[in-house]
Amino acid sequence: MTYLFQILNGLGLGMLYFLLAVGLSIIFGLLQFVNFAHGAFYLLGAYLAYEGVERGLSFWVAMPLAALVVAVLAGLTERLLLRRVYKLPHTFHILVTVGLALVVQELVIILWGPLGGNVAPPEELSGVMILGDFVYPEYRLFVIGFTAILAAGLWWLLDRTRLGAIVRAGSESPSNMALLGYDTLRINTAVFALGAGLAGLAGALAAPIRGVEPFMGVEALGIAFVVVVIGGMGSYAGALAAGILVGVAQSLMATLWPEGARLVIYLGMAGIIMAMPRGLFGRA
Amino acid sequence: MSEPILATDALSVRYGSFVALQDVTLRIRQNSVHSIIGPNGAGKTTLFHALTGRIAPSAGRIALAGRDITRTADHERVRLGLARSFQVTSLFPTLSVRENLRLAAQGRTPWQALAPWRRAEANRPALAMAEAMLDRLDLTRVALRAAGELSHGQQRRLEVGMAMAAAPKVILLDEPTSGMGIDDIAAMTALIRDLGRDHTVLFIEHNMGIVMNISDTVTVMRAGRVLVEGPPARVRDDPEVRRAYLGNMITGDLVS
């Protein structure tokens, strides 16, 4: 029973990791841009949801609103700042986004203090579900279900719509897009906002589970990189599989060998890169 | 006839069912200029890749100065005396022209270069070679400029010079005149002709004028095979060659 509990926990965690990582992955795929500020968008999403609930908004309003605000802020950042940096070597992509992440993190501390806080799950889902002698929090079940629907919607968006086709064509060959006459700049902004918004949403969804604190962004960034690398850069299926894999592994390790949980994950990541350089689902 | 400096026997390269190179047998004589021509997709560059060790042949063997190098690693072949230039210019763009040539000359003793205490200036032969090359390539005036700042023609000459600087037994040149203007082509032609006096040159070229003018031997390839081989005059008049080239890359030189 503990294992079932942990596997369910891991599944929920893994779906959040997926949301986080898939944004990073499509941004890298389309823009060839290594975004070290991705964790900061997650952090911001969590804090905005926290602020919304504190101000008396329903979680059902605060959560999507937080994601939306993050997406808009990220879109603005892309237009005003990041766009000027794309043509520079990757070293500077890393430098500028590390700077951005620091700015966001410190702003969060200035605005909300260094201690963090808790977000109550919405009232409808604050109970537990009981199945025989198996007890599980309803909110966590909701997260699994909700992210699964989101994942399906995202798949539809990337695989079946015009925007998706453009994004995929752009990832294959950036010059294609311009040749086809698309407004590359606008698409770049949209994709960046979408990726960041997903990170913000992951943060907002995670807030009732793990609470909020200023350094959750750094931690999330590390995990997102692990997931993207295991899954394969630019791969949707890879991000999903790897997200769940990492989530479940982390959750199981938490009962088996708590101190070594992280160690095992990073060891696993190094091992997978060695064996499969492009990740589980990466294209050659 | 003396032993060929570079020889291949029934060299083949296959990718699955696709045959890129089929039973290519070549004899390259020492101190000769040997050109390889053929329509697009004839397997010329594949042949180069197999000779330099970039790709492993599916069958056949390669010998350099009588020594079997079929399974020798690419950088080891450089040490044994096989150097190449690239169709797409490939230099060290932020380093000076002189440094580019010095590095190429130093590439003869690559493991010695691994010594972090050995001053670059201590390798006198490499320095002397770089100077000699600057002179021969007519690049002395721009010796201190970054290679990335040179004109296209100068870059192409430096590209060939990088292969020469390794003092190889055989130099492979992949379309040395690629992208050049007329003046630059004349300079390059003179350079290759001059090279043939003390080097063995094997080169791929699309410019028939150069090929017919300066080659001792011409090999015509088509669809991965050797079609015809011989002195320029004979190749020019070969009916098979004329047929192979008709409509494909016929030029005034071939017809007249």
Binding site: V98, Q105 | T89, T251
Partner: protein
């Protein structure tokens, strides 16, 4: 670039001048020592980033390793400090060679990710095996070295100890950078494929660069542990790697004195700002953005421009290819393979003039054969 400023003697002179000026200009001997110690680690980072084009997030591993060697060597094993320092050099080289050997098998972004994974892995190793490393608390009460029977407990005496080692290693790194080895590293940074094609065993060079960089970084870590008396877990943290990279870029790449400059500027700014405002990292973040936008050659580039202005020589062109990891070179990820790499899977594509970029002049020019 201004050739005069890049001369080895000028560079060493600037480093020596810095070492001599710091005691006059600064109050805290601890901070001054820290500048030299980080200057060393940053110069070592520069060997990888600036000279070889390898952006490694693994430098913290070696720095932390050196700290632990100091803690364990001096306290548990009771080794004399010089022996311990030699040991940190050797172990740093060994571990860095191993990390490098595995990481360089992947290129571009995957290389960066691998070094990041290793960095996290070693951090959690140190965290998990707290019996050896002291875990969160670190190894405490690390003694200062003794010289002629006296312990160098005074900050400025220890500074002198660090300064001597700094100058020796700075000169050594200069020698490395100017050697056949160092100059070949620049070639590998510029065009890895061609470096291989003219005969260099590129992987051996990269592993050697890692080993040298790791050795110096570990020694710096050991000096740091003796300076603050602790080998903290944070020394092996991802943040240490990040900070070392930031210092390297702030200073300027492929120039060893620039590294000392980067370390010094960062530490002095951090010291001054953190005293005024606990949220000074916000300013650091803004600074990184400003550097990316306006100061890509780092502080050293600024100095070059200033000197050019004073001596009325033409200023260094900003359009010159930046000597950092660039697109299509170290990062050949899907966008454009470096010319030499190509795709053996489609061999015939290359043998056509179109395949070679379709240069217009590749066609026969009738005039050329007369």
């Amino acid at each position: 670039m201004i050739p005069f400023l890049d001369r080895p003697l000028v560079q060493f002179g600037l480093a020596l001048a810095t070492v001599l000026i710091l005691p006059l200009a600064m109050r805290s001997g601890t901070l001054a020592s820290e500048i030299l110690i980080f200057g060393l680690a940053v110069a070592a980072c520069n060997l990888l980033l600036g000279y070889t084009g390898l952006l490694s997030f693994g430098q913290g591993i070696f720095f932390g390793l050196g700290s632990y060697v100091a803690g364990l060597g001096l306290m548990r094993a009771g080794l004399p400090a010089p022996v311990m320092l030699l040991l940190s050099l050797a172990l740093g080289a060994l571990v860095a060679a191993a990390v490098g050997w595995v990481s360089i098998r992947r290129q571009g972004v995957y290389f960066v990710m691998l070094t990041l994974a290793f960095s996290q892995m070693f951090y959690f190793l140190a965290y998990t095996f707290s019996g050896v490393t002291g875990g969160d608390n670190g190894l405490l009460d690390i003694p200062r070295p003794r010289l002629g029977g006296t312990v160098l407990s005074d900050a400025w005496t220890y500074y002198a100890y660090v300064a001597v080692l700094f100058l020796v290693l700075f000169a050594t790194l200069q020698r490395v950078a100017l050697s056949t080895f160092g100059r070949t590293l620049l070639a590998i940074r510029d065009n890895e494929g061609r470096a291989g094609a003219i005969g260099y065993p590129v992987r051996a060079f990269k592993v050697a660069a890692f080993a040298i960089s790791g050795a110096v970084t570990a020694l710096a870590g050991a000096l740091h542990a003796m300076l603050i008396g602790v080998a903290p877990l944070s020394n092996i943290d991802y943040h240490t790697s990040e900070t070392l990279l930031i210092m390297t870029i702030i200073g300027g790449s492929a120039n060893l004195f620039a590294s000392l400059l980067g370390a010094g500027a960062y530490l002095l700014a951090a010291d001054a700002l953190s005293a005024i405002w606990p949220r000074w990292l916000l300013l650091l973040g803004l600074l990184l953005i400003v550097i990316t936008l306006f100061l890509q050659r780092g502080l050293w580039g600024l100095i070059e421009r200033a000197v050019a202005l004073v001596t009325r020589t033409p200023p260094p062109a900003e359009s010159l290819p930046l000597p950092l990891v660039g697109r299509g070179q170290g990062w050949g990820w899907r966008r454009q393979p470096p010319p030499v790499e190509g795709h053996p899977a489609t061999p015939t594509a290359n043998s056509s003039p179109q395949g070679g970029g379709g240069q217009p002049g590749a066609r026969p020019a009738p005039e050329a054969n007369r």
